[in-house]
Symmetry: C2
Subunit: 357 residues, 2 copies
């Protein structure tokens, strides 16, 4: 049951994809070790420059000869007013004071055109460096982008939170759809469906998507062991994408305090917030989330709010202060380990095979 059209197509041994977590989590070691262990390592390149991407692709190629993939954020147009920015800065000031990062954050708010330009540069790197697999979050790229990538033989995956989004991904010509259940940690990938309506649990989401698309479905959200892998396959998925499970591994670039927090968290402490980035995301409840709760609805959208909180997130991580960090986690923190990637992969596959025998 663990060999199927997806493992064949991706050229991997086991249908386990490491979720492309952005922000430094997906070190070259992490990505390469997942691929070396028979899964698919993925670079979370959403926030990367072309130079950073090239360097990491090169590093990974030195560490593994197995396939790996890369993930990009599809830019979406946005509007933001001067007032929204000022009011967010005002709300963030007491937190900056707490962290002693004083003064104003003289951040430059990105424009949509700049973001779109960076996205095209990222696409160019992927084509030039011939990364074999590319997945997208927050939307579907343009027809031209899809056409160019497919021409190079790059296998493409999209991220969906509802049947409708999955059907649009199939229609656009992408090869695989990753369905993100409400259990998932980090940013919500909904791009057509509204936030609240997009919170579908995997037990409901997988079979309904499977019944409505012909392309293979990969399940993501709260899956951290062989039980989740086999359950997803029973529901009709061809594999799983695991984030928090790999984030807690030895090789992940997440801060130690972040890994520790996950290992000590309970499932009912993992909440949804849009205060960090302007986009809804799931992480461990902390002081920042509680303090910003009342202002949450009026904050600027992604990526503006993300830019405005960059200094806070960086300083709190450096100060090892859990209160103001974005401690992303899915809903299964009690299943987290502190294993190496190799041991985790062995454990997951053994659990799955035991269930299957």
């Amino acid at each position: 049951m663990l060999k199927n059209e997806v493992t064949k197509r991706l050229g991997i041994q086991y249908p386990v994809i490491q979720a492309p977590m952005a922000g430094g989590v997906t070190t070259s070691d992490l990505v390469a070790e997942v691929s070396n262990a028979g899964g698919l390592g993925m670079i979370g390149a959403g926030y990367m420059t072309p130079v950073q991407m090239r360097e990491q692709i090169r590093e990974i190629r030195n560490l593994t000869s197995s396939p790996f993939g890369i993930n990009l954020f599809v830019p979406a147009e946005f509007t933001v007013t001067h007032n929204e920015i000022e009011s967010s800065k005002h709300a963030l000031q007491p937190i900056r004071d707490q962290l002693n990062i004083g003064g104003e954050d003289n951040v430059e708010v990105p424009s949509f055109n700049n973001i779109l330009e960076s996205f095209h540069e990222q696409i160019n790197v992927i084509m030039e460096d011939k990364v074999p697999i590319c997945s997208f979050t927050f939307g579907i790229p343009s027809k031209d982008v899809i056409k160019s990538l497919k021409k190079q033989g790059i296998i493409l995956a999209g991220t969906a939170t509802t049947v409708k989004e999955a059907m649009e991904i199939e229609k656009s010509g992408l090869d695989i759809v990753i369905v993100q259940g409400s259990e998932a940690g980090g940013h919500r990938g909904n791009f057509i469906t509204d936030h609240m309506e997009s919170l579908i649990g995997l037990m409901a989401l997988i079979p309904q998507v499977v019944d409505h698309v012909r392309i293979p479905v990969i399940a993501a959200g709260g899956i951290m062991d062989g039980r989740g892998l086999m359950a997803s396959i029973c529901l009709g998925a061809k594999g799983v994408q695991m984030g928090t499970a790999f984030l807690s591994c030895v090789e992940s670039g997440a801060k130690e305090i972040h890994k520790e927090e996950i290992r000590h968290a309970r499932e009912d402490q993992i909440v949804l917030t849009r205060s960090f980035s302007g986009k809804w995301a799931r992480g461990i409840q902390n002081k920042y989330i509680s303090e910003m709760k009342a202002k949450e609805a009026s904050l600027p959208g992604f990526p503006v709010q993300n830019t405005l909180t960059k200094g806070i997130r960086k300083a709190s991580a450096l100060q090892q202060n859990r209160n103001y960090m974005s401690l992303w986690s899915g809903q299964s923190p009690r299943l987290a380990t502190n294993l190496t990637v190799k041991s985790l992969m062995k454990k997951v596959i053994k659990e799955a095979e035991d269930l299957n025998s």
Copy 2:
């Protein structure tokens, strides 16, 4: 994989429990047919009088010699002010006008003492009539109640939405824990954990609960076919409880318009509301839910708001007006059928066995 300690203990053939949906859904035909097909039929007795309970237990015993169960709501203390009631009545008046049920609803708001008294009467019926299985929602009954029921050999189950709630259920001495995922339709069963924090998807909830209790776990929420049954078993559950799947069946007492609405709904149209009963519940989005949205936070709690909306729910159902009915549904409406119970059970078991072979 379908025979286990739960099927043995309950004396049933397949680990499939029909969710005890209150409000007339669980007709004697529905309950008896589920038990006749090898599952466990359950009476949703939450709102029933002792007379109604006795009558239905007798009816079911005429229709099946297999075990069946019954479910009760555990009363919780509540406070309500005159102002809250008046303000809710005021908000409901335009809807009453729409439905031509004019004037004030001269409803008597129940007191906690009355509710507790009714609950003890319900418990007495279950003991006198020796119903073999009894499950609870909205909390854990008192030690005395548990002791009395267990003395009669009645098998007891509790409903949990988090690991903490499941552990409390085990500690209280109940025999089985039903874990309700965020996917579930109808009322949320959380009784310790707050609403938002209790919304855990089954993919995350089942394995985390299984790892923390020794009593068997039954999974509920969005499960409607053999794929969900086998997935739940992979995750460590010993069986499933299905609500919407049986609600859509021929024998269910749900209004035809309710069944039709489910069959035409999409997973992203199923929302959470507390406007119908004062307790959060999941159902199909309609005019009532949208219109009450802004007032939702300030409405009286359960069961007061439930009493205040009774006339509206009844009139809209009689008038076949979907706009103001409580159209409870889990997150998998696309998996609904219009089969008889017998055919649905056959389908579910065949799908599960095919996956298992």
